[in-house]
């Protein structure tokens, strides 16, 4: 196989969520001397982006997005340490958590997979995350973006509580804040004081990249 063949297989197999094949060809590519960032940026990430685009159009469904993400995650396990050695840049660090009072995590996990697929370094601090834990995690990991998920109308007010706490801790200007979850709307995100909102996982990735680009330009 030539490196181009490997890239093509990786792209195709990621699109259909064939985790064993993606892992096998990631290893095969590395043995051929391909760089981990070539594998990531020329095959895996474009595949996941296409998955996201199809999902947004309604051509792909939730399970297809999940298995494509899982296939990608398997390859990332191999690539991550190598990428760290070569000092390849990530798109950004994304700190993610479901707010206090809320235990829902399916949507959050889906967004995590898509973000990782798009080249973000994702730190998931779980469900039921109180404001002080968001603050500690921001101090420890210095993320570019903090994502907060809420699935209930009763837990959505935690966005504002968290954002106020982050502001009080003097960290608000250090991070971009994105919110999401089934009952959340753009209007509610604005009222909460968040910088960004997305209605689904694919849009969340696109929005996250836009926000980072805007900040880099500013």
């Amino acid at each position: 196989m030539t490196p181009d063949d490997v890239l093509k297989v990786l792209y195709d197999e990621t699109m259909v969520g064939n985790a064993p094949a993606v892992l096998e060809h990631t290893n095969a590519g590395l043995e051929l001397g391909m760089s981990p960032s070539t594998i990531l940026f020329d095959a895996l990430i474009p595949a996941l982006e296409e998955v996201g685009a199809r999902f947004e159009r309604g051509d792909y469904f939730v399970p297809e997005m999940l298995i494509a993400g899982k296939a990608m995650s398997g390859a990332l396990e191999v690539l991550r340490p190598l990428l760290a050695q070569t000092g390849a840049e990530t798109v950004g660090t994304f700190l993610m958590g479901t707010v206090k009072g809320d235990v829902h995590d399916i949507g959050k996990n889906l967004v995590n997979i898509m973000l990782e697929g798009a080249g973000f370094h994702v730190i998931d601090i779980g469900v039921q995350v109180p404001p002080e834990k968001f603050i500690e995690a921001i101090q420890e990991h210095k993320p570019d973006i903090v994502g907060m998920s809420a699935f209930l109308t009763t837990t959505m007010p935690m966005f504002k509580v968290n954002i106020n706490a982050i502001e009080k801790a003097g960290l608000r200007d250090d991070v971009i804040i994105m919110v999401g979850g089934a009952p959340v709307t753009q209007e509610y995100a604005d009222v909460s004081g968040a910088d960004g909102y997305a209605a689904d996982a694919a849009t969340a990735v696109r929005r996250a990249k836009e926000l980072i680009a805007v900040r880099a330009g500013a």
Partner: protein, 285 residues
Amino acid sequence: MHTIVSSANQTLTIGSDQPFCIIGERINPTGRKAFQEQLRAGDLSAVEKDVADQVAGGAMMLDVNMGAPLVDEAALLAQSVRLIQSLTDIPLCIDSSVVEALEAGLAAYEGKALVNSVTAEDERMELILPLVKKYGAAVIALPNDDKEIPEDPQRRFELTQYLVDKATTKYGIPIEDIVIDPLAMPIGADSQMVVRTMETIELIAEKIGVNMTLGASNVSFGMPDRHTLNSVFLPMAMGAGLTSAIMDARTPRIVTAVKAADLMLGNDEWGMNWIAAHRAREAAS
């Protein structure tokens, strides 16, 4: 076991020897952008149509949820309960995660309502069950605690047992007024989701025997051809012991699948409901 709910003029019995209780899910702003905007403007006209469509479709109860962002949920819930009760005699399920809204809805309601919902968290029980008791309502209870929505059917069963024990002994709720939600999750997120829900339903039906309801449309979230999935899921869950669902009452295929399952499960004697529904369709066409 029979759970009896009512409006001012109508009584409805939920039980494993009764036709499946179809609770219409539609009066809920989640995911309905235009409806959310109407609610923010205090416009309840969409509710009138939702009531008419669901009742015509075969709903035997209606779930009422006003949980839109940036609205006065308590005031809206009370207002819509009064409006709906002026339009239909079928009983209502008062749905909110905000305690003040539940209280306002219950205060406005005439009859014995079903409250949606409480969880196995001590804090939530302490807030909601005294209200249920005060208004003599029935209540939907979810077996999740403050840490997780358990995947394991055995764990869901244990939390159900805990809920039932607490609600009956500490809060004095009669066991027949507790309706357990065995938690239906999207099959698209994990192919074993529905198997786990079925096992939970079987465990609860066999060992506790309380009535059960769930949000049936969750199952097909994120998948194509949702109506087919919903109309297959419900009869399977009924076979396992589910006695009610908060569901799409406007799609004839789904409601008809439930009615067919009623007949198969022995809850439609001599198929009289099935035959009558057939005649009604013939007459209408």
